[in-house]
Amino acid sequence: MCFPRSTEEVAFAVRTAASHGRPFVARGSGTGLAGGATPVDEPLVIVTTQMNRVLEVDVEARVAWVEPGVLNLDLSRAVADLGLYYAPDPSSQQACTIGGNVATNAGGPHCLAAGVTSSHVLAVDVVLGDGSVARLGGLEPDGAGFDLRGCFVGSEGTMGIATRIAVRLQPTPPCVRTLLLDFVSIDDAAATVSAIIAAGIVPSALEMMDARITRAVEDFVHAGYPRDAEAVLLAELDGLPAGVDAAIAAVDRIGREHGARTVRVARDAEERALLWKGRKSAFGAIARIKPDYYLHDVVVPRTKLVEVLRQVYEIADAQNLIVVNVFHAGDGNLHPILVFDAREPGIWTRVHAAGDAIVRACVAAGGVLSGEHGIGLEKREFMPLVFNVDDLDAQARLRDAFDPEGRANPQKILPRGSRCGEVMRVPEGAWV
């Protein structure tokens, strides 16, 4: 394990690993949930936390160059006084690094209108598998040649290590309003989400929390969430005042048409912050229900929310497990959380069985395996559910084009046997 402080030191570490015949894996804060940074094949672990400087902020260009170990929230704080912010805001934003966000193509509540990390990364300096340094992308709108920057973002460290990242900053909107809608039925809340999108309204965020998590959060944060609601929606609208007012009126009307009991508009920034604190504390609040949890990340078409959510509860019931749902409803990105006590004998078998069934239900509804956490090790073996052998082979070839020796974070994303002609045999007892 090493803690380099510069691009040159990362390159040196990569070359040193190569000279010992070892692969390497980059690691930021270790908040990833799909095992993308888990060391496999005895790699050199290159930890980026010492590379945590915001190198340059160009206010005119609205671009910041940062090192990979900069924490997501620290970046937005560093540019707030300039009237700018960095849009992707994963729930772990106090702890996760921009480098890790680039690796997983991380999302967050405010990616609904603004887009996930890839829409906000303009250029990356990377150390490739052979220890050479390349700049992918640039500050100009279109580069010559293929979009290597676009390939690299979300490649989970399998194409190299980002050492300098140019991110796009956005001006703080002149008007931001946050609403809390509460429902006596989860179907009504889900139908409201679909109806808001269908009406042509794209909120900057549209989050849903079910009854269990709403109560747990309220007991923890005291944000004024209704403890007796079956589901709440947190919606945020931003932009210019008249458009925001019109959107608020439309969300209010659609919510009430779908059975919302109350629609509360935060009066000021303080109340807005409190409502968001509730949402962002959800994972911490889970400990009030059971000591352990397994968080899933799947996406379904937004028109399928009601039906898939029902299935998620049925699947958890069938395994006699508690599931809570707190998720990015506006883009169909579900986060079913299986809550349990790991000391209970045989519990992991049920947790995995439920997780497996949830993933399959989402794919059957036209969904995908991950919206923002990535594939890593966790979902590698699910890849054939959504891609055929030719699709996987094309992905394997793309990965190999960046790293022909296969030194960068081996064994991640693609299941064994993805390359056509590769022998598909997993040793007995292997971790797959």
Binding site: D142, G145, G200
Partner: protein, 337 residues
Amino acid sequence: MGVSALDALARTVAGARAVAIAGGGTQREIGGTPDPGATEVRVPAGIVRYEPADMTVTALAGTPVAMLDAALAEHGQECPLDPRSAEATVGGVLACGLSGSRRLRYGPLRDRVLEVRFITGDGRAVRGGGPTVKNVTGYDIPRLFVGSFGTLGVITRVTLRTQPRAECSQWSHTDATPADLRDRLFRPATLAWDGRRTFVRLEGYDEDVANEQAHAGLVATDAPPSWPGGEHRGRVSVAPPSLGALARRLDDLECTWLAEGGVGTVHVATDSEAALAAARGAAEAENGWLLREAGAPGLDPFGRPPPNLAILARIKDAFDPAGKLNPGRLPFLRRAA
């Protein structure tokens, strides 16, 4: 596109020595002129699936942008694509990386492509990405295809994210420069600058657009700026803060140009090939580059070779090992091989 048509296309590609992919034929010279001896293939037109409530649309690559636009308009939606000719196809716009003039507000085309299906050079049908609006399942092949000029695969169908059409879309003009305007306007759609005036396109809610216009001292107009015309045309890409310096260089040349403020794209046209070559020199002096879009047969399509040529060549080899797709386009790949 039925299974049999797809199979036939795959067989044609697999059996041909060289393949030239044709869409609406509106960008024949962009990125290099295709080999005249190549077998021409076309993908049919058609909307495969449109889910207004999900804001996604899937279309065959041969669908004209005008046809897509009409289908989306019925539900008050759009994809903000505006190629010079509406006969341009969805696949062609994607392959040429034409993000459209409202990129400043709505982002580049590469952020809008959710899924792409294509035939590889060795005749295999492959799918990359997925149909949902958010997806990190596997490698981002859709973005790779935006601006790939048909050299990695014959795009057969694409899924795009749609958006609601703005209630109001209004052009206006002002003597202020884009740099002056950026802090005075919130998310303008277009800041088209010709060196003398800035044409501003604002979209949104009526009242907001009117207030923004008044606040920034803009004069409403019905006439959007015209695209620079000329026999030889190119598209410059520079970092947006370099636009001012680039404009001063271009003003010394016999050419007309229109810059997308805040974006960094500059559309250049001239009747003299030498002037387009000089415009490329100006772009390169500002750390940018000029893509030759039409005319100027003596000019390399891209100019200096792009960085990371070894990776580009390996990607090309991964998708088109025999080098048969659109030979003549992206000539630097051939030189790298």
